[in-house]
Symmetry: C2
Subunit: 146 residues, 2 copies
DNA sequence: GTATTTGCAAAGTTTTTGCACGTGG
DNA sequence: CCACGTGCAAAAACTTTGCAAATAC
């Protein structure tokens, strides 16, 4: 549950070894993603701005893209429009997103892999579980509809 | 395999019963989606324009949204950016999308439901199988990466 | 010192909206 | 006829890009 489950040096090392520089902006963006759990670029920008105004929206976009490439964060599409980023410091997980109430249920990668693995293997396909978002209707909203 | 698997009157009835009007534009958009299989709003627009110029891009957006609400078509997010529409006249199916080569593997709803159903039920969640797109890497691209 | 990164502003892309005109029922 | 639907053009939302100044190393 620690907000900084990733070792303080791990992300730094990851940047350095890939030939990138450590900048305050990169640290701020990564911290914001970890704090927010799930966030769009805009939300990350807003979060960083509450702490400091030493960042620009373009930089947020560029930084999220970079961190994603390096595997320090993941992105999924939890709403029909706008990518959502989340930290990879916790467990990798998939999402069940309710169209009715917007609730997001997180599912452990291992559980999702157990379910989807055999089918995927049959198709010769390796799913990106951390990116997977299954849209649908949760129990509560199904009841309301009826 | 018929491009008009939907009865000529079914979609018309669906429109009428929901209090909407039959217009040439709605017919053209629905036909284009059925012809294309999978298509973004832009592609639908382009397809319609090859037959006739009696349509406007705004109308394509509005019409796709309407047809989706009525259940005559479905949409999924097969690329990281841009909804993709497909007809519901054939089998409902899910998609496996390869990030490497953009290939799209269609999976029968029944197969996907068999895999995901138990997990979903455990979470009290009813997936929208027709909307489901699983991103990942296909066999061919996995080989190339290595 | 110098190659990378950032800020800023401008442009690009995709989607939505207001409103007058057109048209299906 | 008249409410619903369309075309058009403008605006909104979101993302990317070029370039000079700033900065990590």
């Amino acid at each position: 549950m620690s907000p900084m489950a990733t070792e303080p040096t791990q992300w730094q090392a990851r940047l350095r070894e890939s030939g990138h520089r450590l900048t305050p902006q990169r640290e701020l963006v990564l911290a914001a993603v970890q704090t927010l759990g799930h966030a769009t670029p805009d939300e990350v920008y807003a979060e960083v701005r509450t702490h400091s105004d030493a960042i620009n929206l373009s930089t947020v976009y560029r930084t999220l893209e970079l961190l994603d490439e390096l595997g320090l964060i993941h992105h999924a599409h939890l709403s029909d429009r706008a990518p959502t980023y989340h930290s990879t410091s916790g467990h990798e997980h998939s999402h069940l997103v309710c169209r009715g109430c917007r609730k997001v249920i997180s599912v452990e990668r291992s559980d999702m892999e157990a379910a989807l693995g055999p089918l995927a293997e049959r198709e010769g396909f390796e799913p990106d579980y951390g990116h997977l978002a299954v849209f649908g209707t949760c129990r509560d909203c199904a009841r309301d509809d009826a």
